[in-house]
Subunit: 345 residues, 2 copies
């Protein structure tokens, strides 16, 4: 376990325990700052070690959720020495020699891996869980996505920044109709006020000046790699919203073949890891549709708001919501590890 | 002034005063419940009257922001008797005999009006402020929108419901990673928990079972009417977010002609009522981009995150943010009234 004390690391530990993952010895690593802390796992407390050269000795399988910089430094020597590494960072996802795997969608990508297996971006996984089976049924050709990404996508510090800003602004909700810009809190993590606001910028702007953020480019690149569609056109917008946990994504998808709402529901009703939550009340405001808070703490990605597009019989709209720390990160990583164990690593 | 005590009504009163609108006599109306209250306008207090039959006697021009039901009952007799009515409800927007006007985009639609002029939906106006000039320059053919709509779109009671739920949940932000569904607050206005969540349902689901909400259908219908494009294909998703004031909308637009980011910026930089906020920092997290909280209290619609779409030279992505009570409602209504006065009603 590399990055054991972060938001995703804690969720990986919880998931390994909840799913009874076969572990002989459990070794939590983190940065020097967190070394010496203790982590609970299977009723025991394990002391967090600092990640240093040679950390991987004696370790068969590593799950890591440190940043891309740490992953680039720590994982290749481990993989070369025989430790199979499941990595949650973006460091290796687009490396042609590294499989990018969502077990329900492309498990065979694990064939012939070279010691590093990448876990996808949290928003991409949330969108791809319904899009994978829909692609198999109807042939995906074009995708427009707009995300509603929770603050925990930026780690525990994202939740803390939201909480601090809510603390400062709660009670002034009506005054925010005409706010004093100088009095609005701005934090390190989101740069702008995230409480009572949405911020259409997640991660960095790409260095190429295209105006896309790296988060937006991941949606296209990872969709193309996971679905095996190198020419898939994807237009993604990533927006951070003041939600602690749970990513939403609004999807417009066009397919090669005609698709109906009913046919899409049939496909998604049988898709593993997807829960269809799609029974709007005609003429009313009730019925079933997914929200991020409903997805928080759940393993399944919730999918609903499925609609056909007038005069465009090959297109669909839908809204998916998933727990970004579970299926968007820890659960998917543990599922990859389970697959690796079943295959003898 | 019909609906003088609501969120939009208060904003209309403030806007009339701020813009020095020519008023001989000011007569605020509201429902029986609010009759007798007092409203401040130009340093005087005016007593709110109950809206009853014959309310329009002696009134040349009415601005109304009551609901559609009240508008359907109150406005046709007023218009028939010679009162020109600018209505903020959805009651008459799609009526072929009623102009639907955004003064910066289609002022000529006022020609030959029959006494009722409709003000658009708040999210549609926010999207159309940049799309109008882009359409004139490049010819709009296809639109996908996903909205980030503030709670004040549902009136003052929307802000109150968000505030109450924040009060209840603040301090438990980390626990919302695995919430107890039965302990989550649900209110009358949004049906689901809106604090620390996003709700992909605004207004009612259409009675036709298509799965679209009436709010989503407005985006398409109003874009077609305002832009004069009866065949424009629009795929809209409306999502409520825990923001007090300020609507965001993520837009994918395809045009007849090729369009570049630079060309779009040139068009929008000269568009009245639009403020270009679009200078992302390549490789960084800073620079200029719009958020709803930046738009709150502002007259202009802020537009940024303009991006080209790889392999699709006729398409653009952008993010617009506008004050749903100002340009999305009160300001646009007062601008229509100003146009009517300049034209001699």
């Amino acid at each position: 376990m590399v990055g054991a004390t972060g938001a995703v690391g804690r969720e990986i530990t919880r998931t390994l325990q909840a799913r009874g993952f076969p572990v002989d010895d459990f070794v939590p690593f983190a940065s020097a700052r967190s070394a010496g802390l203790q982590v609970s796992f299977r009723g025991r407390r394990w002391t967090v070690r600092e990640l240093t050269d040679g950390w991987h000795e004696g370790i068969d399988l590593s799950l890591s959720s440190a940043g891309a910089t740490v992953a680039r430094w720590a994982l290749p020597p481990a993989a070369a020495a025989g430790t199979v590494c499941v990595d949650n960072s973006s460091a290796f996802r687009l490396d042609p020699g590294v499989p990018l795997v969502i077990p329900e969608i492309n498990p065979d990508a694990l064939d012939g891996h070279s010691g590093i297996v990448a876990n996808g971006n949290c928003t991409a996984i949330t969108a791809l869980m319904p899009l994978g089976p829909l692609h198999r049924a109807f042939g995906l050709t074009f995708l427009v996505t707009s995300s509603y990404q929770s603050v925990s996508g930026a780690g525990m510090k994202g939740i803390r920044e939201l909480t601090e800003q809510i603390e400062k602004l709660h009670g002034q909700e009506e005054d925010l109709g005409s706010p004093d810009p100088d009095a609005l809190p701005r934090g390190e993590v989101f740069g702008r006020t995230i409480a009572f606001n949405v911020v259409p910028r997640a991660e960095r702007f790409a260095p190429d000046g295209s105006g896309f953020t790296t988060e937006e480019l991941k949606m296209g690149a990872e969709a193309r790699k996971v679905l095996g569609l190198p020419d898939l056109a994807v237009a993604a917008t990533s927006v951070r919203v003041p939600v602690p946990v749970g990513h939403g994504v609004s999807v417009f998808a066009r397919f090669e073949r005609e698709v109906s709402v009913q046919a899409a529901r049939e496909v998604l009703g049988q898709a593993p890891g997807v829960r269809l939550v799609d029974a709007p009340e005609p003429g009313g405001t009730g019925g079933a549709y997914p929200t991020p808070l409903d997805a928080a703490g759940q393993d399944d990605v919730l999918v609903g708001r499925i609609r056909g597009v007038p005069d465009d019989p090959r297109a669909l709209l839908l809204f998916a919501a998933g727990d970004n720390l579970r299926k968007g990160a820890a659960l998917n990583a543990v599922q990859i590890a389970e697959l690796l164990v079943r295959r003898g690593l």
